[in-house]
Amino acid sequence: MAQSPAVWLKERLPIDPVAEAVRHKTVPLHRYSIWYYFGGMTLFLFGVQVGTGALLLLYYRPSAGEAYESVQFIMTRVPFGWLIRSIHAWSANLMVAAAFAHFISVVFLHSYRRPRELTWMSGVVLLGLTLAFGFTGYLLPWNELAFFATRVGTDIASAIPLVGEFIVTFTRGGPDVTGATLTRLFGVHVAILPMITTTILLVHLALVQVHGMSIPPGIEKSLKEDGGAKLRAMPFVPHFLLREMFGWTVALALLAGLAAFYPWELGAKADPFKPAPAGIQPEWYFLWMFQVLKLIPPTIAGINGELIAVLALAVVGLAVFFLPFLSTNARRQRIVRSLGWAALLFMAFMTAMAVLTRGSAAQP
Protein backbone atom coordinates (compact mmCIF):
# COMPACT_ATOMS: atom_id res chain seq x y z
CA MET A 1 0.00 0.00 0.00
CA ALA A 2 1.38 3.43 -0.90
CA GLN A 3 2.38 5.62 2.05
CA SER A 4 1.33 9.25 2.24
CA PRO A 5 4.27 11.67 1.71
CA ALA A 6 3.84 12.97 5.28
CA VAL A 7 4.18 9.50 6.78
CA TRP A 8 7.11 8.73 4.46
CA LEU A 9 8.93 11.88 5.61
CA LYS A 10 8.09 11.29 9.30
CA GLU A 11 9.78 7.90 9.08
CA ARG A 12 12.96 9.48 7.77
CA LEU A 13 13.11 12.87 9.50
CA PRO A 14 12.68 13.80 13.21
CA ILE A 15 9.56 15.82 12.40
CA ASP A 16 7.53 14.86 15.49
CA PRO A 17 10.11 15.85 18.13
CA VAL A 18 10.81 19.15 16.32
CA ALA A 19 7.08 19.90 16.04
CA GLU A 20 6.68 19.08 19.73
CA ALA A 21 9.53 21.46 20.67
CA VAL A 22 8.05 24.22 18.50
CA ARG A 23 4.63 23.71 20.14
CA HIS A 24 6.18 24.36 23.54
CA LYS A 25 8.21 27.40 22.52
CA THR A 26 6.77 30.59 23.98
CA VAL A 27 7.66 34.28 24.09
CA PRO A 28 7.20 36.17 27.40
CA LEU A 29 4.70 39.02 27.34
CA HIS A 30 5.60 42.24 29.16
CA ARG A 31 6.04 45.93 28.41
CA TYR A 32 9.40 45.39 26.65
CA SER A 33 8.29 42.47 24.44
CA ILE A 34 8.54 44.67 21.31
CA TRP A 35 12.33 44.39 21.53
CA TYR A 36 12.16 40.65 20.92
CA TYR A 37 11.35 41.36 17.27
CA PHE A 38 14.64 43.01 16.30
CA GLY A 39 16.73 39.83 16.20
CA GLY A 40 14.26 38.25 13.77
CA MET A 41 14.18 41.45 11.74
CA THR A 42 18.00 41.41 11.43
CA LEU A 43 17.81 37.78 10.35
CA PHE A 44 15.19 38.59 7.72
CA LEU A 45 17.28 41.44 6.30
CA PHE A 46 20.32 39.15 6.27
CA GLY A 47 18.23 36.78 4.13
CA VAL A 48 17.40 39.67 1.78
CA GLN A 49 21.13 40.45 1.54
CA VAL A 50 22.02 36.86 0.71
CA GLY A 51 19.30 36.70 -1.97
CA THR A 52 19.97 40.05 -3.64
CA GLY A 53 23.75 39.58 -3.24
CA ALA A 54 23.58 36.26 -5.09
CA LEU A 55 21.63 37.95 -7.90
CA LEU A 56 24.16 40.82 -8.15
CA LEU A 57 26.96 38.26 -8.46
CA LEU A 58 25.55 37.13 -11.79
CA TYR A 59 26.53 40.44 -13.45
CA TYR A 60 29.14 42.03 -11.17
CA ARG A 61 32.84 41.91 -12.22
CA PRO A 62 35.39 42.37 -9.44
CA SER A 63 38.21 44.27 -11.15
CA ALA A 64 39.22 47.94 -11.15
CA GLY A 65 38.69 48.12 -14.91
CA GLU A 66 35.22 46.57 -14.93
CA ALA A 67 33.57 46.88 -11.48
CA TYR A 68 32.10 50.38 -11.95
CA GLU A 69 30.93 49.61 -15.49
CA SER A 70 29.35 46.32 -14.41
CA VAL A 71 27.35 48.06 -11.65
CA GLN A 72 26.36 50.73 -14.18
CA PHE A 73 25.22 47.90 -16.48
CA ILE A 74 23.18 46.36 -13.64
CA MET A 75 21.58 49.74 -12.88
CA THR A 76 20.77 50.75 -16.46
CA ARG A 77 20.55 47.67 -18.72
CA VAL A 78 19.64 44.61 -16.69
CA PRO A 79 15.84 44.37 -16.19
CA PHE A 80 15.10 45.24 -12.54
CA GLY A 81 18.85 45.52 -11.94
CA TRP A 82 18.27 48.94 -10.35
CA LEU A 83 15.75 47.34 -7.99
CA ILE A 84 18.01 44.47 -6.92
CA ARG A 85 21.02 46.74 -6.35
CA SER A 86 19.04 49.42 -4.54
CA ILE A 87 17.37 46.84 -2.30
CA HIS A 88 20.79 45.33 -1.52
CA ALA A 89 22.18 48.77 -0.55
CA TRP A 90 19.11 49.89 1.42
CA SER A 91 18.68 46.53 3.12
CA ALA A 92 22.32 46.71 4.24
CA ASN A 93 21.53 50.00 5.98
CA LEU A 94 18.32 48.69 7.55
CA MET A 95 20.16 45.54 8.64
CA VAL A 96 22.80 47.60 10.46
CA ALA A 97 19.99 49.63 12.09
CA ALA A 98 18.06 46.48 13.12
CA ALA A 99 21.20 44.77 14.44
CA PHE A 100 22.10 47.90 16.38
CA ALA A 101 18.57 48.18 17.86
CA HIS A 102 18.78 44.49 18.84
CA PHE A 103 22.19 45.10 20.46
CA ILE A 104 21.03 48.20 22.36
CA SER A 105 17.90 46.43 23.64
CA VAL A 106 19.99 43.52 24.94
CA VAL A 107 22.28 45.99 26.74
CA PHE A 108 19.48 47.96 28.36
CA LEU A 109 17.36 44.92 29.26
CA HIS A 110 20.48 43.10 30.56
CA SER A 111 19.62 39.99 28.54
CA TYR A 112 23.33 39.16 28.35
CA ARG A 113 23.42 37.96 31.97
CA ARG A 114 23.98 34.35 33.07
CA PRO A 115 23.44 31.84 31.40
CA ARG A 116 23.35 33.81 28.10
CA GLU A 117 27.01 34.93 28.04
CA LEU A 118 27.82 32.94 24.89
CA THR A 119 24.67 34.17 23.13
CA TRP A 120 25.81 37.73 23.85
CA MET A 121 29.41 37.14 22.76
CA SER A 122 28.34 35.47 19.50
CA GLY A 123 25.94 38.40 18.97
CA VAL A 124 28.73 40.97 19.44
CA VAL A 125 30.82 39.10 16.87
CA LEU A 126 27.82 39.06 14.49
CA LEU A 127 27.40 42.84 14.90
CA GLY A 128 31.10 43.29 14.06
CA LEU A 129 30.67 41.01 11.03
CA THR A 130 27.65 43.06 9.91
CA LEU A 131 29.80 46.21 9.96
CA ALA A 132 32.57 44.31 8.14
CA PHE A 133 30.02 43.35 5.45
CA GLY A 134 29.12 47.04 5.14
CA PHE A 135 32.75 48.12 4.88
CA THR A 136 33.84 45.47 2.35
CA GLY A 137 30.71 45.84 0.22
CA TYR A 138 31.06 49.61 0.08
CA LEU A 139 34.16 49.48 -2.16
CA LEU A 140 32.69 47.06 -4.68
CA PRO A 141 31.04 49.64 -7.02
CA TRP A 142 34.53 51.23 -7.31
CA ASN A 143 33.23 54.79 -7.13
CA GLU A 144 34.95 57.91 -5.81
CA LEU A 145 33.28 57.84 -2.40
CA ALA A 146 34.00 54.16 -1.86
CA PHE A 147 37.62 54.56 -2.94
CA PHE A 148 38.41 57.24 -0.35
CA ALA A 149 36.28 55.60 2.36
CA THR A 150 38.33 52.43 1.91
CA ARG A 151 41.59 54.37 1.90
CA VAL A 152 40.66 56.08 5.18
CA GLY A 153 39.11 52.98 6.76
CA THR A 154 42.09 50.75 6.03
CA ASP A 155 44.66 53.39 6.98
CA ILE A 156 43.27 53.78 10.51
CA ALA A 157 45.17 50.58 11.44
CA SER A 158 48.49 52.22 10.49
CA ALA A 159 48.42 54.07 13.83
CA ILE A 160 49.03 50.79 15.68
CA PRO A 161 52.75 50.49 16.51
CA LEU A 162 54.82 47.62 15.01
CA VAL A 163 52.01 45.75 13.22
CA GLY A 164 50.02 48.72 11.85
CA GLU A 165 51.68 48.90 8.43
CA PHE A 166 51.42 45.12 8.03
CA ILE A 167 47.67 45.22 8.80
CA VAL A 168 47.18 47.99 6.21
CA THR A 169 49.07 46.05 3.52
CA PHE A 170 47.24 42.86 4.49
CA THR A 171 43.75 44.38 4.19
CA ARG A 172 44.56 46.32 1.03
CA GLY A 173 46.35 43.45 -0.68
CA GLY A 174 49.26 45.84 -1.22
CA PRO A 175 50.55 49.18 0.05
CA ASP A 176 47.73 51.22 -1.54
CA VAL A 177 44.05 50.85 -2.44
CA THR A 178 44.12 49.40 -5.96
CA GLY A 179 42.37 46.73 -8.02
CA ALA A 180 44.05 44.21 -5.71
CA THR A 181 42.10 45.69 -2.78
CA LEU A 182 38.85 45.46 -4.74
CA THR A 183 39.39 41.78 -5.57
CA ARG A 184 40.42 41.03 -2.00
CA LEU A 185 37.48 42.79 -0.36
CA PHE A 186 35.15 41.17 -2.91
CA GLY A 187 36.39 37.72 -1.86
CA VAL A 188 35.97 38.65 1.79
CA HIS A 189 32.47 40.09 1.16
CA VAL A 190 31.02 37.20 -0.84
CA ALA A 191 32.87 34.14 0.51
CA ILE A 192 34.81 34.54 3.74
CA LEU A 193 32.37 36.73 5.71
CA PRO A 194 29.25 34.72 4.68
CA MET A 195 31.01 31.50 5.72
CA ILE A 196 32.01 32.83 9.14
CA THR A 197 28.70 34.67 9.66
CA THR A 198 26.56 31.64 8.81
CA THR A 199 28.50 29.47 11.26
CA ILE A 200 28.29 31.97 14.14
CA LEU A 201 24.66 32.77 13.29
CA LEU A 202 23.73 29.09 13.64
CA VAL A 203 25.46 28.97 17.04
CA HIS A 204 23.67 32.20 18.09
CA LEU A 205 20.25 30.89 17.01
CA ALA A 206 20.84 27.50 18.64
CA LEU A 207 21.75 29.24 21.90
CA VAL A 208 18.58 31.35 21.73
CA GLN A 209 16.57 28.10 21.40
CA VAL A 210 18.46 26.45 24.29
CA HIS A 211 18.00 29.35 26.75
CA GLY A 212 14.70 30.79 25.53
CA MET A 213 13.89 34.49 25.70
CA SER A 214 15.42 36.46 28.56
CA ILE A 215 13.08 38.23 30.98
CA PRO A 216 14.36 41.68 32.06
CA PRO A 217 15.49 41.83 35.74
CA GLY A 218 12.99 44.62 36.46
CA ILE A 219 10.08 42.43 35.32
CA GLU A 220 11.46 39.45 37.26
CA LYS A 221 11.67 41.59 40.39
CA SER A 222 8.09 42.90 40.09
CA LEU A 223 6.87 39.31 39.60
CA LYS A 224 8.61 38.29 42.81
CA GLU A 225 7.06 41.24 44.63
CA ASP A 226 3.66 40.10 43.38
CA GLY A 227 4.18 36.90 45.35
CA GLY A 228 5.63 34.83 42.50
CA ALA A 229 3.01 35.70 39.89
CA LYS A 230 3.49 33.94 36.55
CA LEU A 231 4.37 35.97 33.49
CA ARG A 232 1.98 35.77 30.57
CA ALA A 233 3.47 34.21 27.43
CA MET A 234 2.62 33.99 23.75
CA PRO A 235 3.07 30.78 21.71
CA PHE A 236 5.95 31.24 19.26
CA VAL A 237 4.00 29.45 16.53
CA PRO A 238 1.81 30.90 15.21
CA HIS A 239 1.28 34.04 17.37
CA PHE A 240 4.80 35.46 17.56
CA LEU A 241 5.88 34.18 14.15
CA LEU A 242 2.89 35.78 12.42
CA ARG A 243 3.62 39.10 14.10
CA GLU A 244 7.26 38.78 13.02
CA MET A 245 6.19 38.01 9.46
CA PHE A 246 4.00 41.08 9.49
CA GLY A 247 7.10 43.10 10.45
CA TRP A 248 9.08 41.49 7.64
CA THR A 249 6.37 42.36 5.14
CA VAL A 250 6.48 45.98 6.29
CA ALA A 251 10.29 45.92 5.94
CA LEU A 252 9.99 44.50 2.43
CA ALA A 253 7.48 47.21 1.47
CA LEU A 254 9.78 49.84 2.96
CA LEU A 255 12.73 48.45 0.98
CA ALA A 256 10.71 48.44 -2.24
CA GLY A 257 9.60 52.03 -1.56
CA LEU A 258 13.11 53.23 -0.78
CA ALA A 259 14.53 51.45 -3.85
CA ALA A 260 11.83 52.90 -6.11
CA PHE A 261 11.86 56.48 -4.81
CA TYR A 262 15.47 56.76 -3.71
CA PRO A 263 17.50 54.43 -5.96
CA TRP A 264 21.03 54.00 -4.60
CA GLU A 265 23.36 56.37 -6.43
CA LEU A 266 26.48 55.14 -8.19
CA GLY A 267 28.41 58.42 -8.27
CA ALA A 268 31.60 59.00 -10.26
CA LYS A 269 34.12 56.28 -11.03
CA ALA A 270 37.10 56.04 -8.64
CA ASP A 271 40.20 57.81 -9.90
CA PRO A 272 43.32 57.54 -7.72
CA PHE A 273 44.62 60.74 -9.32
CA LYS A 274 41.66 62.91 -8.41
CA PRO A 275 41.41 64.74 -5.08
CA ALA A 276 38.86 63.61 -2.51
CA PRO A 277 35.65 65.57 -3.24
CA ALA A 278 34.44 68.23 -0.80
CA GLY A 279 31.68 67.03 1.53
CA ILE A 280 32.88 63.41 1.43
CA GLN A 281 31.39 61.37 4.28
CA PRO A 282 30.96 57.69 5.14
CA GLU A 283 27.69 55.84 5.73
CA TRP A 284 25.54 57.09 8.65
CA TYR A 285 26.69 54.30 10.98
CA PHE A 286 30.34 55.30 10.66
CA LEU A 287 29.64 59.07 10.86
CA TRP A 288 30.36 59.39 14.58
CA MET A 289 33.74 57.73 14.12
CA PHE A 290 34.46 59.97 11.12
CA GLN A 291 33.72 63.05 13.23
CA VAL A 292 36.00 61.82 16.02
CA LEU A 293 38.82 61.32 13.50
CA LYS A 294 38.21 64.85 12.24
CA LEU A 295 38.35 66.40 15.71
CA ILE A 296 41.16 64.44 17.28
CA PRO A 297 44.42 66.45 17.29
CA PRO A 298 47.58 64.98 15.68
CA THR A 299 49.14 64.43 19.11
CA ILE A 300 47.75 64.25 22.64
CA ALA A 301 50.43 64.57 25.35
CA GLY A 302 53.06 63.51 22.84
CA ILE A 303 51.12 60.41 21.74
CA ASN A 304 49.67 59.99 18.24
CA GLY A 305 46.02 61.14 18.48
CA GLU A 306 44.83 58.48 16.06
CA LEU A 307 46.51 55.78 18.15
CA ILE A 308 44.62 57.01 21.22
CA ALA A 309 41.35 56.80 19.26
CA VAL A 310 42.15 53.26 18.06
CA LEU A 311 43.14 52.17 21.58
CA ALA A 312 39.98 53.70 23.10
CA LEU A 313 37.86 51.88 20.51
CA ALA A 314 39.67 48.60 21.22
CA VAL A 315 39.14 48.97 24.98
CA VAL A 316 35.42 49.74 24.49
CA GLY A 317 35.12 46.79 22.08
CA LEU A 318 36.71 44.41 24.58
CA ALA A 319 34.55 45.72 27.44
CA VAL A 320 31.44 45.23 25.30
CA PHE A 321 32.49 41.68 24.34
CA PHE A 322 33.08 40.70 27.98
CA LEU A 323 30.08 42.68 29.30
CA PRO A 324 28.33 39.66 30.92
CA PHE A 325 31.40 39.13 33.13
CA LEU A 326 31.63 42.81 34.07
CA SER A 327 27.95 43.50 34.72
CA THR A 328 27.23 40.85 37.33
CA ASN A 329 24.93 42.54 39.86
CA ALA A 330 22.17 45.15 40.06
CA ARG A 331 24.58 47.99 40.93
CA ARG A 332 26.83 47.20 37.96
CA GLN A 333 23.77 46.86 35.71
CA ARG A 334 22.83 50.43 36.66
CA ILE A 335 26.36 51.57 35.73
CA VAL A 336 26.09 49.74 32.38
CA ARG A 337 22.78 51.51 31.70
CA SER A 338 24.30 54.92 32.47
CA LEU A 339 27.38 54.20 30.34
CA GLY A 340 25.10 52.93 27.56
CA TRP A 341 23.16 56.19 27.59
CA ALA A 342 26.40 58.20 27.64
CA ALA A 343 27.76 56.23 24.65
CA LEU A 344 24.50 56.65 22.73
CA LEU A 345 24.41 60.39 23.41
CA PHE A 346 28.07 60.73 22.40
CA MET A 347 27.45 58.88 19.13
CA ALA A 348 24.28 60.87 18.43
CA PHE A 349 26.06 64.16 19.14
CA MET A 350 29.04 63.29 16.92
CA THR A 351 26.71 62.12 14.14
CA ALA A 352 24.67 65.33 14.36
CA MET A 353 27.87 67.38 14.25
CA ALA A 354 29.06 65.50 11.15
CA VAL A 355 25.71 66.04 9.43
CA LEU A 356 25.53 69.74 10.32
CA THR A 357 29.11 70.50 9.20
CA ARG A 358 28.75 68.49 5.99
CA GLY A 359 30.29 70.24 3.00
CA SER A 360 31.48 73.19 5.03
CA ALA A 361 35.23 73.44 4.64
CA ALA A 362 36.20 75.04 7.90
CA GLN A 363 38.93 77.62 7.78
CA PRO A 364 42.18 76.70 9.51
Binding site: D176, P275, A276
Partner: protein, 150 residues
Protein backbone atom coordinates in the same frame (compact mmCIF):
# COMPACT_ATOMS: atom_id res chain seq x y z
CA UNK B 1 50.19 -5.46 41.00
CA UNK B 2 46.80 -4.02 40.14
CA UNK B 3 47.98 -0.59 41.16
CA UNK B 4 51.08 -0.99 39.01
CA UNK B 5 49.01 -1.96 35.96
CA UNK B 6 46.60 0.84 36.80
CA UNK B 7 49.39 3.38 36.81
CA UNK B 8 51.07 1.97 33.67
CA UNK B 9 48.00 2.08 31.42
CA UNK B 10 47.29 5.80 31.78
CA UNK B 11 51.00 6.43 31.31
CA UNK B 12 50.98 4.64 27.95
CA UNK B 13 47.78 6.42 27.05
CA UNK B 14 49.39 9.75 27.94
CA UNK B 15 52.20 9.05 25.48
CA UNK B 16 49.70 8.05 22.79
CA UNK B 17 47.62 11.15 23.53
CA UNK B 18 50.73 13.28 23.30
CA UNK B 19 51.72 11.65 19.98
CA UNK B 20 48.22 12.07 18.60
CA UNK B 21 48.06 15.64 19.87
CA UNK B 22 51.39 16.64 18.34
CA UNK B 23 50.50 14.88 15.06
CA UNK B 24 47.24 16.79 14.99
CA UNK B 25 49.06 20.05 15.72
CA UNK B 26 51.53 19.17 12.95
CA UNK B 27 48.72 18.53 10.44
CA UNK B 28 46.96 21.72 11.51
CA UNK B 29 50.19 23.69 11.18
CA UNK B 30 50.92 22.27 7.74
CA UNK B 31 47.44 23.35 6.62
CA UNK B 32 47.39 26.78 8.28
CA UNK B 33 50.95 27.85 7.41
CA UNK B 34 50.49 27.91 3.60
CA UNK B 35 47.05 29.55 4.04
CA UNK B 36 48.59 32.24 6.25
CA UNK B 37 51.40 32.85 3.79
CA UNK B 38 48.94 32.88 0.88
CA UNK B 39 46.87 35.61 2.54
CA UNK B 40 49.84 38.01 2.83
CA UNK B 41 50.21 39.75 -0.53
CA UNK B 42 53.64 39.40 -2.19
CA UNK B 43 55.78 42.51 -2.53
CA UNK B 44 55.83 43.79 -6.08
CA UNK B 45 59.01 45.75 -6.72
CA UNK B 46 58.27 48.98 -8.52
CA UNK B 47 60.85 50.93 -10.52
CA UNK B 48 61.50 54.08 -8.49
CA UNK B 49 60.27 57.11 -10.42
CA UNK B 50 62.76 59.97 -10.25
CA UNK B 51 61.01 62.58 -12.37
CA UNK B 52 57.84 63.08 -14.38
CA UNK B 53 56.47 65.71 -16.71
CA UNK B 54 54.14 68.23 -15.11
CA UNK B 55 52.71 69.38 -18.46
CA UNK B 56 52.95 72.83 -20.05
CA UNK B 57 53.26 76.03 -18.02
CA UNK B 58 50.53 77.62 -20.13
CA UNK B 59 48.00 74.99 -19.09
CA UNK B 60 48.25 75.94 -15.40
CA UNK B 61 47.15 79.49 -14.61
CA UNK B 62 48.25 81.20 -11.36
CA UNK B 63 46.30 80.25 -8.19
CA UNK B 64 45.43 76.79 -9.50
CA UNK B 65 46.73 73.22 -9.30
CA UNK B 66 46.49 69.77 -10.82
CA UNK B 67 47.25 66.23 -9.70
CA UNK B 68 50.08 64.54 -11.59
CA UNK B 69 50.80 60.77 -11.35
CA UNK B 70 54.31 60.26 -9.97
CA UNK B 71 54.73 56.51 -10.51
CA UNK B 72 51.73 55.09 -8.67
CA UNK B 73 51.48 58.01 -6.23
CA UNK B 74 49.68 61.34 -6.80
CA UNK B 75 51.64 64.60 -6.66
CA UNK B 76 49.94 68.00 -6.56
CA UNK B 77 51.48 70.64 -8.80
CA UNK B 78 50.51 74.15 -7.63
CA UNK B 79 51.03 77.46 -9.39
CA UNK B 80 50.95 80.13 -6.71
CA UNK B 81 49.31 83.52 -7.17
CA UNK B 82 52.85 84.88 -7.69
CA UNK B 83 53.25 82.45 -10.61
CA UNK B 84 55.74 80.17 -8.84
CA UNK B 85 55.45 76.36 -9.26
CA UNK B 86 55.41 74.04 -6.24
CA UNK B 87 55.03 70.25 -6.21
CA UNK B 88 54.06 68.26 -3.12
CA UNK B 89 52.93 64.75 -2.36
CA UNK B 90 49.13 64.73 -2.74
CA UNK B 91 48.63 61.98 -0.18
CA UNK B 92 47.33 63.42 3.10
CA UNK B 93 49.52 62.39 6.02
CA UNK B 94 46.43 61.86 8.19
CA UNK B 95 44.52 58.98 6.57
CA UNK B 96 45.92 58.94 2.98
CA UNK B 97 43.13 60.80 1.15
CA UNK B 98 44.17 62.78 -1.94
CA UNK B 99 44.46 66.50 -1.15
CA UNK B 100 43.39 69.46 -3.32
CA UNK B 101 44.34 73.10 -3.82
CA UNK B 102 41.89 75.67 -2.50
CA UNK B 103 42.16 78.88 -4.58
CA UNK B 104 40.03 80.74 -1.99
CA UNK B 105 42.43 79.87 0.84
CA UNK B 106 45.53 79.79 -1.39
CA UNK B 107 46.72 76.64 0.28
CA UNK B 108 46.26 72.86 0.26
CA UNK B 109 43.22 71.21 1.83
CA UNK B 110 42.11 67.65 2.46
CA UNK B 111 38.35 67.20 2.11
CA UNK B 112 38.21 63.97 4.11
CA UNK B 113 38.89 65.31 7.63
CA UNK B 114 39.48 69.02 7.02
CA UNK B 115 43.30 68.98 7.09
CA UNK B 116 45.16 72.13 5.94
CA UNK B 117 48.73 72.49 4.60
CA UNK B 118 50.60 75.58 3.47
CA UNK B 119 52.42 75.66 0.14
CA UNK B 120 55.63 74.47 1.80
CA UNK B 121 53.75 71.32 2.80
CA UNK B 122 53.55 72.25 6.50
CA UNK B 123 50.48 70.87 8.29
CA UNK B 124 48.93 74.08 9.60
CA UNK B 125 45.50 72.95 10.83
CA UNK B 126 43.29 69.92 11.36
CA UNK B 127 44.34 66.37 12.15
CA UNK B 128 47.34 65.78 9.77
CA UNK B 129 50.32 64.73 11.90
CA UNK B 130 53.15 65.43 9.42
CA UNK B 131 53.98 67.81 6.55
CA UNK B 132 53.56 66.80 2.90
CA UNK B 133 56.72 65.69 1.09
CA UNK B 134 58.07 68.38 -1.25
CA UNK B 135 59.24 67.72 -4.81
CA UNK B 136 61.57 69.82 -7.00
CA UNK B 137 60.05 71.64 -9.93
CA UNK B 138 62.08 72.87 -12.87
CA UNK B 139 60.79 74.66 -15.93
CA UNK B 140 62.53 73.96 -19.24
CA UNK B 141 61.12 76.26 -21.85
CA UNK B 142 57.38 75.65 -21.63
CA UNK B 143 57.72 72.24 -19.97
CA UNK B 144 57.39 71.59 -16.24
CA UNK B 145 59.46 68.74 -14.78
CA UNK B 146 58.76 67.37 -11.30
CA UNK B 147 61.55 65.40 -9.66
CA UNK B 148 62.13 63.70 -6.34
CA UNK B 149 64.28 65.65 -3.88
CA UNK B 150 67.65 64.04 -3.32
Amino acid sequence: MTRETGSRVPHRRDILDWLLGTSFAGVLGSVLYPIGRYLVPPEIPEAATQSVSGGKTTSLPPNSARIVPFGSAPVILVRTTAGEFRALSATCTHLTCTVQYRPDLEHIWCACHNGHYDLSGRNIAGPPPRPLEMFDVSVKGDDIVISRRT
